[in-house]
């Protein structure tokens, strides 16, 4: 850095006189006294010069250097005081001071007001020539050197009091603790603590806000809660309500959680550890009921549903594993009817629960659950043929199909019995998930005969499509009864997402190119067919948003236009068509939001 003195532009100084610009911040750093950890100090120069290498000079320079960055007060000859951030001093010459963000604190120059605080001036860089300098006063200087920088720099710590720095330092160790007393004029704070006897604050926030700021609140409590009609009837209503509440709360319940809340004793011998009790996903409608799917005829119900011409496709029943769970909670008549209907409609709809069945189910829900569970382990095949026949609606229906023409008479049980016998085992094999257990022994035997009679009677479809449609919704069905019928479209192109539906973590290619199938400069060749397929597919197919997590093929990045993958997807497409909601793709084009 040059040591030439330059003519400086007019600079503010203590007495307003123009002066030569001092060499900014020339500091001699004496190697034997000071070791600088970085050579970046622009105004420092190494090497002693001018022969002023006395220890006292060194100390002076050391101290002045330590001032850098501190707020200092500079007293000048005329008594004025200037406050600012110490920037530099001219150690070669007369130790003029350069202050940044400096302001005249006390102005005693001629013509200056006695109280300069009347008009505040914007802080500026000031240079005080050495000859005007009287004193530089700095507070809180670390003469012993800064603390070893373990974390943020010493002074930075003052800016950000981070916990680790605070706990690390032991300065100050212990302090004399004083009870906090509010400053004068801060009486506002006390108002926050005004509580009345009941503990309600005697402070209305809306009122205060309106008073202070004129803000009118449009808050209406009734928008968020039911308005209570306070009046003469209040007592009665309250009593009524609490009675109902007690009834409900005392109710018996199957639900484990509710039972626990209500204090109802639950069987301890059921193997239920904490996980099952509190955290596992409960699939009551699925597996438990599936396993307990039994052809248990409910007593005293006309077996009308079974009088349909049995045209059940066993296939339907078999691959209706998903729909089988809909049977959950339903019992023989239900199953019979549902199986019948399933064949009729060939749909994934939940098997219809006709009104009879629904009532029946509701009333017998708890008991039949237990029954089902109890009966499950029993081997159904061991039961007699006849009960089995009657219990097996699928078998019955299939038999019906075969024997319907012949089973006109009521008494035609034996052919029914025989044929079903053979049919049943096969049927049972084919539909293992259906536990064709025997009915509740005893109770239903009487009814079975009735049922069989009814069953074997060839009859017009007892259940009309409309009725079954109407009664499609069973209590515990998990299928959407309102869902559109699924029709397999063999011509459907498997929709290949060009990118994984999940946000890709690291885009290797520039931003949106690979989202645009038609404009992908980086993927030539086989990419094209895929790209072309994309808009086509989009246009043709009604896209159904598949909310399943993850695409069928593993996400392989953004553009793998390999035909093989495409083919792969084609295959997958056949078995489980997966349509990605195209507009979502569109959005990707616009840009990602990570």
């Amino acid at each position: 850095m040059s040591r030439q003195q330059q003519q400086a532009p007019l600079r503010a100084s203590a007495n307003g006189a123009p002066h030569r610009k001092l060499d900014s911040g020339r500091q001699d750093s004496k190697s034997h006294l000071m070791r600088s950890s970085s050579g970046g100090f622009t105004s420092a120069e190494n090497g002693g010069k001018l022969g002023l290498t006395s220890p006292s000079r060194d100390r002076l320079v050391y101290v002045m250097t330590q001032f850098t960055g501190h707020h200092v007060d500079v007293h000048v000859k005329n008594g004025s005081v200037i406050s600012g951030i110490f920037h530099a001093t001219n150690t070669d010459k007369d130790f003029g001071i350069v202050l940044k963000m400096a302001q005249l604190i006390k102005d005693t120059s001629v013509g200056g007001q006695s109280n300069p605080a009347d008009v505040l001036r914007k802080p500026d860089t000031m240079i005080i020539p050495g000859r005007d300098l009287v004193q530089v006063f700095a507070k809180d200087v670390t003469l012993g050197g800064d603390e070893l920088p373990k974390g943020p720099v010493h002074d930075k710590r003052k800016d950000l009091m981070i916990d680790s720095a605070i706990s690390r330092s032991h300065f100050p160790e212990e302090r004399e603790l004083e009870r906090w007393a509010p400053d004068e004029g801060d009486s506002d704070c006390i108002e926050l603590e005004k509580f009345d006897r009941k503990g309600h604050r005697s402070w209305d926030q809306f009122e205060t806000n309106a008073a202070l700021f004129g803000v009118k609140s449009t808050f209406n409590e009734d928008l968020y809660t039911t308005k209570l009609e306070r009046g003469p009837h209040m007592r009665e209503l309250e009593k009524h309500a609490s009675r109902i509440a007690r009834e409900i709360e005392g109710e018996d319940t199957e639900d484990l959680h509710l039972a626990e809340e209500r204090g109802i004793y639950v069987d301890e011998d059921l193997e239920q550890d904490e996980e099952i009790k509190y955290s596992a996903v409960r699939r009551d409608t699925d597996t438990s009921k599936l396993k307990s799917f039994m052809n248990v005829p409910s007593s005293a119900h006309p077996f009308d549903p079974l009088t349909r011409p049995g045209s059940i496709d066993t296939k339907d029943l078999q691959d209706e594993e998903s729909s089988s769970h809909i049977f959950g909670g339903t019992h023989l008549p239900v199953t019979a009817a549902t199986s019948v209907l399933a064949s009729e409609y060939q749909s994934n709809k939940p098997f219809p629960a006709d009104p009879n069945r629904l009532d029946d189910k509701r009333s017998k829900d708890s008991s039949s659950d237990k029954d089902n569970r109890n009966l499950r382990p029993e081997n159904t095949l061991s039961e007699g043929g006849r009960p089995l026949v009657s219990e097996d609606p699928e078998g019955a229906s299939s038999r019906l199909r075969a024997s319907e023409p012949s089973s006109s008479g009521q008494g035609d049980k034996s052919p029914d019995g025989l044929a079903p016998d053979s049919a049943v085992p096969s049927k049972l094999h084919s539909a293992p998930e259906y536990v064709n257990s025997s009915q509740i022994p005893g109770s239903s035997t009487s009814s079975t005969s009735e049922r069989v009679a009814a069953n074997s009677a060839a009859s017009a479809p007892g259940l009309s499509p409309s009725s079954s449609m109407g009664s499609l919704s069973s209590d515990k069905s998990t299928l959407n009864p309102n869902a559109k019928e699924f029709k397999l479209n063999p011509n459907a192109k498997a929709f290949t997402p060009l990118t994984s539906p999940l946000r890709p973590p690291n885009p290797p290619a520039p931003d949106s190119t690979y989202y645009y199938p038609n404009s992908m400069p980086t993927t030539p060749g086989p990419g094209l067919p895929v790209g072309m397929g994309f808009p086509q597919a989009y246009g043709v197919q009604p896209m159904v948003y598949n909310a399943q997590p993850g695409p069928p093929p593993p996400p392989q990045g953004y553009m793998h236009p390999s035909g093989q993958q495409y083919g792969q997807q084609m295959m997958m497409g056949q078995t489980r068509p997966v349509y990605y909601y195209a507009p979502e793709m569109q959005q990707y084009r616009g840009g990602r939001n990570y």
Partner: protein, 181 residues
Amino acid sequence: MEVGGEEFAVGVVISAKTTLGEEFEGQIVSFDRPSNLLVIQEGVGRAERGERRNVRVIKANYIQDFTVVGKYDDPLDPAACVLDLAAIHAREEAALRQAEIEAERIGVGVTPEAQRLFDALSKTLPVQWDKTDIVVMKEVRVCSPYLPENVSGGTSAANERVKKVLDFERKRLHVRVPGQF
């Protein structure tokens, strides 16, 4: 004219009075004759690492008179005097940043009362100076003499709010410092 040049020995604690009427006491860290600068620290004894002291660098010719209070050891350890220039730079930058932020909050050529109002408003509202006008939320303008009538601009809701706050703050300030402006 140096007063007591010989007595300004390192480690000596003096109590002095300046020609400007200031009095102080402290331990001599250094006395540089050529420049006539005396370095005095408040507090006796060696400052430890990280320990802070107030330091004075005064031209000796402004010392009117002084008395020696005591003689102690050198408060500076020459071997331990390390200048961490990086830290110093950082400190300076931080201080400058802070000062700039504070400077933004100070109006140029405004009365102290105005400045007080500004400070009070800034506690709850975003305020800026525009010459001598206070601009609240970039919309509402309060001109001198900063009375509720001088509030203009912004939506009526904002306007009202600023008026209220201004009114409130004025009352509060007047109650706190009666007679003072």
